[in-house]
């Protein structure tokens, strides 16, 4: 069912189709207080529906979210991809990372850039936006790490005020070398 999801390997990560095991990993993450950094905790039922919709997104839009796993341990560390459901203002480069790669500085940026580059190369999608809540310091830092610039605020029916951060096209801007600076923040 997920055969249409391409696999991407980066230096330390693998981006591949989401599976039922990933749902279990994600449900376990969202049961923990630490998931507050992703808007958690969330009930298993809610996580299931999100993961199911993310898989179906590939069939409906030819693009979607990948599971991100570490190449060294194969551990799940979150998901990254392009989100463009009905009614969304524009295709969004989005991510949700668990603490699975907290000890790999820059891994989150590595995953985001791989998804961004694929979307441009294979689907001509870009420059992509990321919609970020003004209070989400982690996401704002990550967006800056991968070279995105804050463009404007926009009001969404469900989510209230969000900022649109505009990504660069692959090769457009030098890859920022600031990953390590931020990798340890907020993870006590």
């Amino acid at each position: 069912v997920t055969a249409l999801v391409p696999e991407i390997e980066t230096r330390r990560l693998r981006l591949r189709a989401l599976t039922r095991r990933d749902f279990e990993a994600e449900a376990a993450w969202f049961a923990r207080p630490a998931s507050a950094r992703n808007g958690g905790p969330k009930a298993r039922e809610a996580v299931w529906r999100v993961v199911a919709a993310m898989i179906g997104h590939w069939t409906l839009e030819s693009v979607g979210f990948w599971a991100v796993e570490r190449r060294d341990t194969r551990a799940y560390c979150g998901r990254v991809g392009v989100w463009n459901p009905e009614g969304w203002p524009e295709p969004e480069l989005g991510w949700t990372f668990t603490d699975g790669a907290d000890d790999l500085p820059g891994a989150e940026a590595e995953a985001i850039l791989a998804a961004r580059d694929w979307a441009w190369r294979e689907r001509a999608l870009g420059p992509l936006a990321s919609l970020i809540r003004p209070t989400d310091g982690r996401a704002r830092r990550l967006a800056a790490d991968v070279g995105a610039r804050m463009e404007r605020g926009v009001k969404l029916p469900d989510a209230g005020l969000v900022e649109i951060h505009r990504h660069a096209l692959p090769g457009d801007a030098p890859r920022p070398a600031r990953h390590a600076m931020h990798s340890g923040e907020g993870r006590a």
Binding site: L18, M54, T59
Partner: protein, 181 residues
């Protein structure tokens, strides 16, 4: 670009219907259905954005469970008549067989025909020992259909604040026994 079809979903044919993978093209007809009061017993009416997400989640259901909803096509015309499926999202009481027919396709026994095929697949290919249908108590048409299929009321439940009656279908082999009788 045209989105690729969902792969790995078995296609079933009955006398008059084709049960096939849900596709991108099915979204608009379901958005239209969910804009009407006809959808009141299956979670509607719903705005387009919510229908899209539920459609995407139904597709993803196949990947997460190995079974899910089929779109129902009338073989003679190719028209989309509704859907039938095997449904078990996280938090659901047990694996369900469900059906939805669009306006204009009722009264011909299509739902019965499709549900029998889906039930046969569940018992045969998937090895289900039991299956239920979760039906809003005011949905008299669906209750009649469940009973015609041999299901009986088992217990009451609730989803998203709506009451649901759980009808339990006869187990595998019941149809065969019926045929012999």
């Amino acid at each position: 670009m045209t989105a690729p079809a969902l792969v790995g979903v078995p296609e079933l044919e009955t006398e008059r219907l084709r049960l096939r993978a849900p596709s991108e093209a099915d979204f608009e007809p379901f958005a239209a259905f969910y804009a009407t009061e006809r959808s009141r017993f299956v979670g509607g009416p719903l705005p387009r954005g919510k229908v899209w997400r539920s459609h995407a989640a139904l597709v993803g259901h196949w990947a997460l469970r190995g079974y899910g909803w089929w779109s129902l096509e009338e073989r003679a015309t190719g028209a989309l008549a509704g859907r039938v499926g095997l449904f078990h999202p996280e938090g659901w009481p047990e694996p369900e067989i469900g059906w939805t027919l669009f306006d204009g396709f009722e009264g011909r026994g299509y739902a019965t025909e499709a549900a029998r095929a889906a039930l046969g697949f569940a018992h045969g290919r998937l090895g289900w020992r039991t299956a239920v249908s979760c039906i809003h108590p005011d949905n008299a048409r669906s209750v009649r259909l469940a009973e015609r299929l041999g299901a009986r009321f088992d217990y009451a439940w609730e989803a998203d604040g709506e009451p649901l009656h759980i009808y339990r279908h006869a187990g595998p082999g019941a149809a065969a026994r019926e045929a012999v009788a």
